[in-house]
């Protein structure tokens, strides 16, 4: 009896250690620092992580995967509480007037209250469609905070770059428009 109890305890202990090991391997494999922004920093051009989210204006959903191969995309991560986002979104709105027929402009309202976000869009005259990423799950795959974050995706679905300095905007727009 004592021997079988000891054996059971040993098997349980080994199972717990094995479980923890599996958890560790899973965590390493699903490295939270693996995101589009870091990949670009490493000189890689990953395929844009897909998302399928509801539009802020209530007119259905936007599925990024369905745009792959059809149109290049400018992806703008913003929130109504983010003051610098106003300036960047207005620049993208202006760029849309020039490139809107060749490039798809998509906003991702992130970690934000959707009613405040809609009000913010109206107030600042932003007309390109945005989806709502309340929990920030999509933002995390692209690089996380801080925002604004603006990415450029070629027609093939590969991420070409992230806007770091304002001067790069026309160059990236031309690059993906010709992709």
């Amino acid at each position: 009896m004592a021997r079988s109890a000891r054996l059971t305890a040993q098997v349980l202990a080994v199972a717990v250690v094995a479980g923890l090991l599996v958890l560790l391997i899973w965590r390493v494999a699903h490295d939270s620092t693996a995101n589009v922004s870091n990949a670009l920093d490493d000189g890689r051009h990953p395929t844009a992580p897909a998302f399928d989210l509801e539009r802020l204006d209530g007119r259905g959903r936007i599925d990024l995967a369905t745009l792959r191969g059809k149109k290049p995309i400018v992806l703008d991560f913003w929130a109504s509480w983010c003051t610098p986002c106003i300036h960047e979104s207005k620049r993208l709105e202006a760029a849309m007037k020039q490139y809107g027929h060749r490039i798809e402009f998509v906003g991702v309202d992130t970690k934000d209250f959707s009613s405040d976000a809609r009000r913010w869009q109206r107030k600042h005259g932003i007309t390109y469609p945005s989806v709502h990423d309340g929990g920030g799950d999509v933002l995390a795959k692209w690089g996380g905070l801080p925002i604004p974050r603006i990415f450029f995706v070629a027609r093939s679905g590969k991420v070409v770059g992230e806007l770091i300095t304002e001067e790069d905007l026309p160059r990236y727009l031309r690059q993906i428009a010709e992709s």
Partner: protein
Amino acid sequence: MKRVALVLVAGLLAVPVARASEQHPTQAELEGEVMCPVCGTTLDQSGSPAAEQIKRVIARRIAAGDTKSEIKDRLVANYGDSILAAPPHHGFGLLAWWLPIGGIVAAAVLVGLGAWRWSRAREPPPRAVQLDPALERQLDDELRRFEP
């Protein structure tokens, strides 16, 4: 007995307090139970624009007469479960509540079991000592000498 009565009274008093908190939540208590989505702290610890935005939403909903659950449900619908400082009492969140309790109970059982086995190992089983009849007679004689 007195202690049991005290615990019962405290429990009975806690019920109306919890109900009042659910029906008429205060700004301060909700700010302590809701996370700031960009800073990893509760709202009351943060002055970031995102936290201020949620504080305004909470104030508006309290003024509109929403219950605590309604306000939290609204926030969860918008931001997801991660907006709550404590895990929810349903689904996968239940694990976070019951796992530590299960761990403590299991540890207590293991410690109790170990202590019980240890104490039994230290106590030798009582043995009936049988004296040699001659020796017993001699002992009785010796003891009789001390009797008055």
